[in-house]
């Protein structure tokens, strides 16, 4: 009798556990994506995470974001790196699917050359303006020109009218 009860209980528990496990298995998203076993690979994965934009957040990398898509992309990057991709290849995998917009650091290509060279050009331009300004001003800055005799006499007179 006891054995039967235990069997029933066990069966019910197993059934319930089966249900709950099944219910969770339906939605296979983990709340925290587990890190890779190999610390070197994991460090590489995290370095890549910091370069990828979370597409549904504002100005966050997938490393920092809590969003579901960010989690998914983190897992994908880990999968690629574990499968042997280099960092660049893992990044390219995502760029193939989402375009350049998924990169936080704009790539250097024809379309972004103005962006990357811009600051340098601006600096040169500003420097040129400043230099041109200095050139325009006469170079005899504060060079003392000695007084003529006439001026010396007048100066003495002004300083000491009694003499």
């Amino acid at each position: 009798m006891q054995a039967l009860v235990r069997l029933w209980t066990g069966a019910i528990v197993a059934l319930m556990m089966g249900f709950s496990v099944a219910a969770h298995a339906q939605v296979v998203t983990e709340i925290i994506d587990p890190p890779l076993e190999d610390p070197v690979l994991e460090a590489r994965a995290q370095a890549v995470h910091k370069l990828i934009r979370c597409l549904v957040c504002q100005n966050q990398s997938i490393h920092d974001s809590n969003a579901g898509l960010a989690r998914d992309l983190r897992i994908i990057v880990r999968d690629r790196i574990a499968a042997g991709d280099t960092n660049d290849q893992a990044i390219q995998y995502l760029v193939d699917r989402y375009g350049d917009w998924v990169l936080l650091k704009p790539p250097l290509k024809a379309s972004t050359i103005v962006l990357w060279l811009g600051p340098f050009l601006i600096l040169l331009l500003a420097g040129w303006f400043a230099w041109a300004y200095f050139r325009a001003a006469p170079s005899q800055v504060a060079k003392a020109v000695p007084l003529t005799e006439e001026e010396q006499r007048r100066l003495a007179e002004l300083l000491d009218p009694e003499a």
Binding site: I31, D64, L123, V141, A142
Partner: protein, 668 residues
């Protein structure tokens, strides 16, 4: 009823603004004292009416009058009183009302405190200020009326974004607005000077306190925003190069440049044309920022709900104000004759370098912010410009500036000697190089970048101290002599020392924090322990705690150090009643060495919770450094010379032999 009063007050303000924008201008042109005299009472009246309107809106929020649309959309009866009040400016319409309140406040302040200004100039300044007000009041009344009524009054409001129910963030907008609306004053002064056709050292002296005040407020506003992001957003980030952050940073950079170039105009009567242009550009950047936030043209977490009609209105306004003032500049700039000449190596030269680098930095941030839009327009391609771009470009431009900032005060006006200045700075140089090298050698994890950051930060602090010591002749004269020199030193010089020192402290804190912070992400079950930076954090569990308008899941982590109990951290996840958004509140323990930072994430359904811990060393130095910078600004503002403006009328007596001339106005 109150809302209608507020609405009516705004209309009256607009009428006064139109009058104030035209009559004094004409009066200054025709030298009619009566017409000029309209400016001051009009400025007071305008401020009074806008203040009444603002009070009316605040009242509506406080009593939760949901018949007012803005209140219905953005408030909730369960919100604590403080956040009902701060909710007034947490939405598009209310924030515009705050904008115009501060604009008219500055106008009124010039009317009250600008008694030392020549009446003609003051009239022009107030008129220009008022014309800006006309634009904003029109914008508010036509497209963004905060007093619009709702015909079917809801029982409950739509609540406020829970992220904004936070003290740091609630006060961040007023300070920001005091800052970049405050730069409208420099703009008005510049345009008034262009209309007059004259810029002299006195002009620079009058502009300086207003620019300094705006700059100080803007610094507070930006730092408050960063500090809030640090403790609220769950991973301790404090700057994201988000378009709207950049929109507040650009006026700050330009305003800093303006502060420095105005000094050259004041002391040496040169760089006038550039300073006027800079004053116009600084406020133009503020206006551009306003446009970016409210037009929907760039995505940002800060952006208010967008409406193309509003975008066009603001753009039109921008074209009028900025385009008009720049054209005025182009036409009138040749009238501004330059004064003193100077050698490239001199204090003026250092300030020119300062302006050059700050202007480049500002342009770089502008380029990065607008580039995605420009590229999309011209080629249809989408690219995103995030933090890494700005880090790669902004810091290399700023680094030489920070190095040079220490030399500037050491060089004399007109012509200086670089080697001589360096001689006087050699102690500071060896101290900062020594510290940086010591850290590089003995602390693991150092990179050339972190070493450079520490070197520059220490250089700024040591160099500022060296400047101060030089000025008060420390160790070269008796101590009492040095002390009296220190006490009598102009406050502006103290302000400069404090501001540069504060910047150095900020840089040191930021470099150390970013280089040596540690992070640990894992799933934990109650009872488990994780060690971070020498602290053992044990997860005790999660409980449900109700708040005034939210339900929180609060986790308890008991923290011990070397086995000794140290503290408890209580991070939360809050679900707000009236919003689908949830917020995280980090559990932070501040220690002398840094912050211990804990975040609770989601449950995994199997008894575990996602947790994230950080240790952020020296993070307080960032906030302290920023505070010291603000202190520098405040101290500078109290300089006696700013209250003393136009020379008092001297008695016209002939100077006979033996008679001393009438005392000149105190100054440098």
């Amino acid at each position: 009823m109150i809302a209608e009063l507020g609405h009516f007050a705004l209309i009256l303000a607009l009428v006064v603004a139109v009058v104030q924008g035209t009559v004094p201008l004409i009066g200054a042109q025709t030298r009619s004292a009566a017409w000029i005299a309209v400016a001051r009472p009009a400025a007071n009246a305008q401020f009074a009416f806008v203040a009444i309107a603002f009070a009316a809106l605040t009242y509506s929020f406080v009593v939760s009058d949901f018949s007012v649309l803005a209140v219905a959309k953005n408030s909730h009866t369960l919100k604590p009183l403080m956040y009902k009040i701060t909710g007034v400016w947490g939405n598009h319409e209310g924030s515009l009302l705050l904008w115009i309140l501060i604009l008219t406040l500055f106008g009124a302040a010039v009317a009250w405190f600008g008694t030392n200004l020549p009446p003609g100039l003051r009239a022009r300044v107030l008129a220009v200020q008022s014309l800006i007000g006309v634009g904003f009041l029109s914008f508010i009344l036509w497209t963004s009326n905060p007093f619009e009524r709702v015909l079917e009054v809801p029982f409950e409001g739509n609540g406020l974004n829970p992220l904004l129910q936070d003290p740091g963030l609630a006060f961040h907008p007023p300070f920001l607005y005091l800052g970049y609306v405050g730069f409208s004053m420099a703009f008005s002064f510049a345009v008034a000077a262009l209309i007059e056709g004259r810029v002299d050292p006195a002009w620079a002296r009058w502009v300086r306190p207003w620019t300094l005040a705006a700059w100080t407020f803007l610094t507070i506003g930006i730092v408050l925003g960063s500090w809030w992001a640090y403790y609220e957003l769950g991973w301790g980030g404090f700057w994201f190069w988000d378009p709207v952050e950049n929109a507040s940073f650009m006026p700050w950079l330009a305003g800093t440049a303006l502060l420095h170039s105005a000094v050259v105009v004041e002391r040496r009567d040169t760089l006038k044309s550039w300073t006027i242009l800079l004053a116009i550009l600084t406020f133009s950047l503020s206006l551009l920022g306003t446009f970016i936030v409210r037009s929907g043209i760039l995505t940002s977490v800060h952006a208010f709900a967008t409406d193309p009609e509003r975008g066009y209105f603001i753009l039109g306004f921008l074209v009028l104000v900025i385009g008009g003032s720049l054209i005025l500049y182009a036409v009138r700039a040749p009238l501004l004759k330059s004064g003193g000449l100077f050698a490239p190596v001199s204090r003026e030269g250092a300030l020119v370098l300062n302006n050059l680098l700050l202007a480049t930095a500002t342009a770089t941030v502008l380029l990065g912010t607008l580039y995605p839009l420009m590229l999309d327009l011209f080629t249809g391609k989408k690219v995103s410009v995030g933090g890494p771009f700005f880090e790669a470009t902004f810091f290399p431009i700023m680094a030489p500036l920070l190095a040079a900032a220490v030399f500037g005060p050491m060089l004399p006006w007109k012509r200086g000697d670089l080697m001589g200045a360096f001689q006087r700075l050699r102690v500071a140089f060896f101290v900062s190089a020594g510290i940086a090298l010591a850290v590089w050698a003995f602390v693991s994890g150092s990179s050339w970048l972190s070493t450079l950051g520490i070197a520059l930060g220490a250089w700024l602090v040591a160099g500022s101290f060296a400047s101060l010591a030089e000025r008060i002749k420390l160790l070269r004269a008796p101590l009492t002599d040095s002390l009296s020199r220190a006490i009598n030193m102009p406050r502006a010089a103290w302000g400069m020392t404090l501001a540069h020192t504060g910047l150095g402290i900020f840089l040191l804190g930021g470099t150390i924090m970013l280089t040596w912070q540690t992070e640990s992400i894992q799933v934990m079950r109650p009872g488990e322990t994780v060690t971070v930076a020498g602290y053992e954090l044990t997860f005790q569990g999660v409980g449900n705690i109700p708040g005034p308008n939210y339900m929180a899941e609060r986790a308890l982590f008991s923290v011990s150090r070397n086995g000794e109990p140290f503290t408890n951290l209580l991070p939360e996840k809050r679900a707000y009643v009236s919003s689908s958004m949830a917020t995280t509140e980090a559990g932070i323990k501040a220690t002398w060495a840094g912050d211990l930072y804990a975040v609770i994430g989601d449950a995994d359904g199997k008894g575990g919770w996602a947790t994230r811990f950080f240790f952020k060393p020296f993070v307080h130095w960032m906030w302290i450094g920023a505070s010291v910078m603000v202190l520098g600004g405040v101290v500078s503002l109290t300089d006696r010379r700013h209250r003393v403006g136009a020379p008092a009328q001297r008695r016209k007596t002939a100077i006979g032999p033996g008679q001393a001339p009438a005392p000149q106005m105190a100054g440098e």
